[in-house]
Subunit: 130 residues, 2 copies
């Protein structure tokens, strides 16, 4: 039994607008139409689960689209993930480093004992080395 867009939305937790948007940017294949309305196969729910998985890992929609395009073209998921992961890892590591730096800086700001902005600025110039 095929699914209407509302049903897919309910099952995946994404809005109908989002699903239509994903289709418009090539992330979801255009499904069959019955009376002008989209009819999805149940497997689209798996595809959306993979999209969610990839997005959780920090991939952009464009990157997920490339991954899925490869799989659609016959590649196995494993060989599709590998280069994407290799490309993404340094980005995520940079994000982690940056987030930790932000956290550290918050601690310093909380202990800020400057009595003027100029003093804060001087501290800033002394303490920031990136």
């Amino acid at each position: 039994m095929d699914l209407a867009i509302g049903e897919v939305a309910a099952r995946t937790g994404h809005s109908q607008s989002t699903l239509r948007y994903w289709e418009s940017v090539g992330l979801l294949p255009a499904p069959e139409r019955v009376g002008g309305k989209r009819r999805y196969r149940p497997s689209v729910v798996d595809r959306i689960a993979v999209i969610d998985l990839a997005r959780h890992a920090g991939f952009s929609l464009a990157e997920v689209r490339d991954l899925l395009d490869g799989v659609d073209a016959g590649a196995d998921p494993q060989s599709q993930w590998a280069p994407l992961v290799a490309r993404k890892r340094p980005e995520v590591e940079a994000l982690i480093a940056r987030a930790h730096a932000m956290h550290h800086l918050l601690g310093e700001l909380e202990r800020c004992a400057c009595d003027s902005l100029a003093a804060c600025a001087a501290e800033a110039r002394a303490g920031l080395s990136d």
Copy 2:
């Protein structure tokens, strides 16, 4: 000696456009004009250093503006930072947690041995609990 916008840009590493934009959103006070052109006092460089400091800590322009508005109104930096830092800390901690989760997930994806998207989706549903 006052500074032209180009000089401020050169000293702070921000473009003239950015400085004008910051002024338009209330982050920098409107400086005096001489012949229609902005003339900055040297202290603006300190102010921009504080802005950079706050942005490094993850604050938005609006948050930095609120901070500086308070200081301009006579508050000491210390008492202005405190509530902002308290508000920001959980956000940054959430960012750190999320970034680590992304990193962990990348490791799992790299070891992905699924032979189909449906299998990946099943893994995803099993492994993701947020």
